[in-house]
Amino acid sequence: MSETAARALAQMFERMSGVIETEKDHLSELDGAIGDGDHGITMSIGFKAVTAALAALDLDSASPSDVMSTAAGGFLDAVGASTGPLYATGFRRAAQALAGRGHLDLAACRDMLAAMSEGIRDRGKAQRGDKTMLDVWMPAAEAAATAVANGRSKPEFWKAVEIAAENGAAATATMVATKGRAARLRERSLGHTDPGAASAAMLIKAMAAML
């Protein structure tokens, strides 16, 4: 089963890369309004690097954890920026959470989401409500935990996670940024969706579709 799980994760990253490619310009536009206009470009470069790194990986022998740590390295070396350390740390923590696991059952998915969200939080030292990607990853991870605790089915699990992510992204428009570039805009950031939150919701949608 281990190959299948690794393969599923690799396909998930390909889906993520595809979605980002489609939404690249939209993400850069969101970033242009309150940041420096490169978020779509950065994410596109990053996920292309991830799929390139994964293409070099032998998915027959690799574990899910290997896939995540390969993704972390590929992403970080390709982009830097804010997203590089944030997602690289998130993926690395996910790799740790998946270490020794061959199955991507709902518990594994829950732990992966929790690890992602904690990794991003620890690296960026942001809090909920700071108008960042964390406002998507944290509620998504919480929704996953609740769904598992309540014994939800797989479709219900991912539906709940997706909705939490989308609500989180939408809510950033009502927040005043206090972290990242947008923080300098203070009140002027109101009314704009955070680009990192928007892309995070897209990534989670891709996860839901592939896992």
Binding site: D25, S28, G32, A33, I34, G35, D36, G37, D38, I41, T42, I45, L76, D77, A78, V79, G80, A81, S82, T83, G84, P85, L86, R123, G124, K179, G180, R181, A182, A183, R184, L185, R186, R188
Partner: protein, 343 residues
């Protein structure tokens, strides 16, 4: 927006080709990494190494400040994106002369995370690292949150002072202290008339109305702190200088260095008109200009706009400012003739 480009996705790599070829006499890649460039004539045993860096799109920043008497190595990211830890670590290793390495870079979330990760990795390799974040953009955050401010064109002065301190053989701690002082005494305010455009989109990052300007504009095309009606050059300088005077505790007779910097598309003619007023305002307070630079020193692609930076000098900073250096775009009291015809 029209630009001289091939495939927009190759823009950074192609720029690096040209830049490394053009400045071959000053710097070279560290190994095979073209995102980590080291001064040919920089690092030496016993000297604290100076590593600077950041995103591209600010040329001649940061690469123009690498050379004898200034930075020893520079790490370059994608456009407006911090470099990842790997090239930064390579720079630290290349710059290290056994006396530690000083990181100086602008205070942006991305740069801080990547340089911090790099610092940890370098220290694991036994290279002591100290860091000074530049925070000269005084309108980017209120004075109570000085450390929250971002670094903009004033990093020119901070780099210069740091490079001189390192070249003079000061210890890592001393280099850090004086660099921090230079940053604390550097005040910048920028104004944009038009936003920049990324090579990939060729659209303005955001639109500034036909009669408006953006005060406090960042050097990454981030919106500034307020949108205002365009005013005359003198009125704009007055607003900027009033902001600076509010923070700079300068007495009559004090000396400063002045940098009037184009964000890219604003030509020298207009910079001189701004400089004229800066001088008038300083003269009215009996503050003397020890040295000045007017031109393209830290740009934001093709942004229309300019920034004014003032370094409030003391005796030590004055000496460090005049310390010889020779880089691709800055020669001060040229350290030595080297037979190469270079600007």
């Amino acid at each position: 927006v029209k630009k001289f480009l091939n495939n927009p996705n190759d823009v950074v790599e192609e720029m690096l080709d040209g830049l490394i070829a053009s400045h071959r006499s000053y710097l070279q890649p560290v190994g095979t990494s073209r995102r980590a460039l080291v001064a040919r004539n920089g690092p030496r045993p016993g000297k604290v190494g100076l590593v600077i860096g950041g995103g591209t799109g600010h040329e001649p920043c940061f690469v123009g400040y690498v050379g004898k008497g200034l930075a020893d190595a520079v790490a370059l990211g994608n456009i407006f994106s911090s470099p990842p830890p790997d090239p930064i670590v390579k720079c630290a290793v290349a710059a290290s002369g056994g006396a530690g390495v000083l990181f100086v870079y602008g205070n942006y979330a991305g740069d801080v995370m990547n340089f911090e990760m790099a610092a940890e990795l370098a220290e694991e390799q036994g290279i002591p690292i100290r860091t000074v974040l530049t925070t000269d953009d005084i309108v980017s955050s209120p004075v109570e949150d000085r450390e929250g401010r971002r670094g903009v064109a004033g990093n020119f002065f901070v780099f210069k002072v740091a490079g001189a301190a390192c070249d003079l053989g000061m210890t890592l701690g001393e280099c850090e202290t004086v660099t921090r002082k230079a940053n604390d005494r550097t005040y910048t305010v920028g104004v944009a008339l038009e936003s920049c455009s990324m090579p990939q989109t060729r659209r303005h990052n955001f639109e500034i109305g036909p009669d408006d300007m953006e005060l406090g504009m960042g050097i990454h095309g981030e919106p500034g702190v307020s949108r205002e009606r365009v005013r005359t050059a003198d009125e704009i300088v007055d607003t900027i200088m009033d902001n600076i005077f509010k923070e700079m505790k300068a007495e009559p007779g004090d000396r400063v260095a002045v940098l009037v910097n184009s964000f890219g598309a604003t030509p020298l003619m207009e910079l001189y008109i701004l400089y004229r007023r800066v001088e008038q305002r300083l003269a009215a307070k009996n503050i003397e200009i020890e040295a000045n630079w007017v031109g393209h020193y830290c740009t934001s692609l093709d942004m229309v706009g300019a920034s004014i930076s003032i370094l409030h000098l003391d005796r030590q900073l004055t000496e460090l400012l005049h310390h010889p250096c020779r880089t691709a775009i800055l020669t001060i009291n040229a350290p030595e003739a080297d037979g190469a015809a270079k600007s």
